[in-house]
């Protein structure tokens, strides 16, 4: 094999560790707290649920065991994930399958946590029910499709005292943590951040409706209706529908706008936005959105632009933080991560951080390439010098965030995206759709971010 992870070795090791922990857990006695073994259920076994389960299996975390799965697509996703879990019985996994989440919560008495990856409009009901059953919850973003739903999730988390992690996985990505902790806060390489821009553009081919193969059994119409879907097309493409999801600004933008607020240490004070259903037929949510936020930070005002489009993939996805001394361009895609020193800033000022290993001078481009047809123009600034971010990540993108969740259950870490943070981001992002709809600048008061 081939990647950083030798899966066969891992499986042998994990199988041994899993068995050992199971025995040691039993030895503690039924009433003893046993955080070595954490029993997990997956609620929502679609594509994203499978991504999270795969990331967790890859995480090699001893003692984390899937013991149940629930999905309304009985004859396809539920069957698939249940059969996958059966492959890992040697790790202590169980493959019990449910179509009714209430039945699962009533039946599975030894559950500790639930991973929720259902469509956004189910997040509040599912999360609240799980926490009220005494279970810790990892809930995919968007926290809810409504601010009211997200608010109730925060309230339930406080009432029950259970952990609620929202799936903004960049919050646990070591590359992002390095940029914030080391490059921005400690080394202050950007100087004063004044402007942000970011985007997630996808090609037309990536945004076509998902269609059901003739060979794939559909969900019964009565079941679809029972769970709030008009038909299979809406079930498969729920992100495009109002009342069910939030469109690309929520599906894609939420991950990145969350980083804006994290790195600035502030919530926005206003948003203006434009967008529309300009290209795709039959989609309810805007297929392109451009938004501008205003932030007041401890260092001064910041304006932040964000765009998402579904017809052209130009320049992919990234976030760009611009300060008066440097620029950070980062993306979840590990291949993109550079920090640029403004031309007027002395190289010697950044050298100690290169020596310390915070930035990689050797892989950057310290001297801008000369253009043959360029002439010295006093109106142009001196080109910035490029350094690479020195931290890489080879795990699946969701693995560190899941690890953080389980480490929080074990009491060794604090959640990186607890309910309150998820709520602030939900407000920030859901307000964009409102701003588009109203065609107005929306003032965002500090109390709107509080529960």
């Amino acid at each position: 094999m081939k990647s950083g992870l030798n899966r066969r070795e891992f499986l042998r090791t994990s199988a041994a560790i899993g068995t050992g922990l199971y025995v040691s857990g039993k030895a503690l006695g039924a009433d003893a707290p046993n955080k070595d073994v954490i029993n997990v259920a997956l609620l929502g076994a679609g594509t994203q649920g499978q991504v999270l389960m795969d990331a967790l299996i890859s995480a090699k975390e001893p003692g984390i065991r899937f013991v149940a799965v629930c999905d309304i697509w009985k004859d396809f996703n539920l069957r698939k994930v249940s059969r996958r879990l059966k492959q890992w019985e040697s790790l202590g996994y169980r493959s019990t399958a449910y179509t009714d989440y209430k039945e699962m919560l009533d039946t599975e008495k030894d559950l500790d946590a639930v991973i929720i990856a259902t469509p956004d409009f189910w997040h509040a009901e599912h999360s609240i029910a799980c926490m009220e059953k005494g279970l810790h919850v990892y809930c995919e973003k968007e926290m809810s499709n409504t601010i009211e739903g997200a608010r109730r999730m925060v309230q339930t988390q406080r009432k029950t005292g259970k952990l609620l992690q929202i799936g903004h996985q960049r919050r646990s990505n070591p590359r992002y943590i390095h940029c914030y902790d080391k490059l921005i806060k400690e080394a202050k390489l950007l100087g004063r951040i004044t402007t942000i821009n970011g985007q997630w553009n996808r090609s037309k081919e990536s945004c076509m409706d998902i269609i059901l193969s003739e060979k794939t059994p559909a969900i019964e119409q009565a079941v679809l209706n029972q769970y709030g879907f008009k038909d299979m097309k809406q079930f498969l493409n729920w992100r495009w529908y109002k009342e069910l999801g939030g469109g690309p600004i929520v599906d894609l933008g939420s991950h990145q706008i969350d980083i804006y607020s994290w790195f600035l240490g502030a919530n926005p004070k206003s948003v203006i936005a434009g967008g529309g259903t300009d290209y795709w037929k039959g989609h309810e949510w805007y297929d392109n959105v451009m938004a501008i936020y205003e932030y007041d930070t401890s260092e001064g005002p910041v304006r932040a632009f964000y765009q998402t489009g579904t017809t052209n993939s130009a320049n992919g996805y990234y976030e760009c933080f611009m300060g008066d001394e440097g620029t950070l361009v980062i993306s979840e895609a590990s291949s993109r991560g550079s920090i640029y020193r403004e031309g007027w800033v002395e190289e010697a000022k950044w050298d100690p951080w290169a020596v310390k290993g915070y930035i990689d001078k050797s892989k950057g481009k310290l001297v801008a390439e000369k253009k043959d047809d360029a002439v010295l123009d006093v109106r142009e600034s001196i080109p910035a010098a490029e350094y690479k971010i020195s931290v890489t990540m080879t795990d699946p993108y969701h693995t560190p965030h899941l690890k953080n969740f389980f480490n929080a259950i074990r009491g060794t870490e604090k959640l990186n995206c607890p309910a309150e943070v998820g709520y602030e981001t939900a407000v920030t992002v859901l307000k964009v759709n409102e701003a588009v709809q109203k065609a107005n600048r929306l003032e965002l008061k500090p109390e709107e971010f509080k529960v």
């Binding site: 081939k2 795969d54 081919e205």
Partner: protein
């Protein structure tokens, strides 16, 4: 080993990149030369021969292979491709035409398929050769973790010029230990010839491969079989960069029955 009757050559094509002339690579999916040889070679369990080189074969009337490609579809959260060893750079443009003798057809279509797992996690084995190459969930079969294989019975000994495989192309993904072999022996004990092998550390015990890891796309992976002969084609794999499972959307085997 029987000598080849037909020469299969990639279309002679010169690309001008960055002011330098660059000849067509041996591997049609890569713009880089083959990976360096691994340090040690373990003895494979079965009798295995490498497929003969194109240069050993004879010239015939060549036509571009007419491949029907599925709809490209990269959706969902992107997957992390960082840290994968021996990964070739994407070609960055459509694959050039593959030249094969006139009369070459897909011999695998609707032929019998067997597998290391009689019942896949999803789908059934007939889907591997049903002509459906779409990325949607209903078009792919999933096999469990560890070493897995699917095998197509072409029905008769055939000259094989190319094998095209679509493991999965819903997201950019890299499959590990991809080995493709042909044989006249359905058990692949004797007369085994290797068409493709990127098992860089001999995880499967079939020998260390010299081919590179590659990113799956809607184009599928075209493997030059150089006119090797055989009745059966077996495709191995073991996990991918995202999860521990093996997937097959479609396998096509281009050739002609031996006259």
């Amino acid at each position: 080993m029987k000598h080849l009757k037909v020469l299969v050559l990639l279309m002679a094509m010169t690309a001008v990149i960055g002011g330098c002339s660059k000849s067509q690579p041996a591997n049609p999916g890569s713009d880089e030369t083959a990976a360096p040889a691994a340090a040690e070679t373990s003895q494979p369990a079965a009798q295995v021969e490498e497929a003969p080189a194109s240069a050993d074969a004879q010239t015939g009337d060549l036509k571009p292979l007419a491949l029907v490609l599925p709809r490209p579809m990269f959706v969902g959260t992107p997957e992390n491709l960082a840290g994968i060893e021996n990964l070739e750079k994407p070609l960055g443009k459509p694959r050039p035409p593959f030249m094969a003798p006139e009369g070459t057809v897909n011999l695998a279509l609707n032929k019998p398929v067997t597998s290391s797992e009689s019942e896949p996690i999803t789908g059934d084995l007939t889907m591997v050769v049903d002509g459906d190459k779409e990325a949607t969930d209903g078009s792919v079969i999933e096999l469990g973790p560890f070493k897995q294989w699917v095998q197509v019975d072409l029905g008769a000994k055939s000259d094989i010029y190319a094998v095209v495989v679509w493991h999965y192309h819903k997201t950019p993904r890299v499959y590990f230990d991809v080995v493709v072999q042909t044989s006249d022996d359905p058990d692949f004990v004797t007369d085994v010839k290797t068409v493709f092998n990127n098992d860089i550390d001999n995880s499967l015990g079939l020998g260390i491969g010299q081919d590179r890891h590659y990113v799956e796309t809607a184009e599928g992976r075209l493997m030059d079989a150089k006119g090797v002969q055989g009745r059966y084609v077996r495709l191995y794999s073991q996990a991918n960069n995202q999860n521990d499972y093996s997937h097959y959307i479609e396998v096509e085997v281009y050739g002609k029955p031996v006259q």
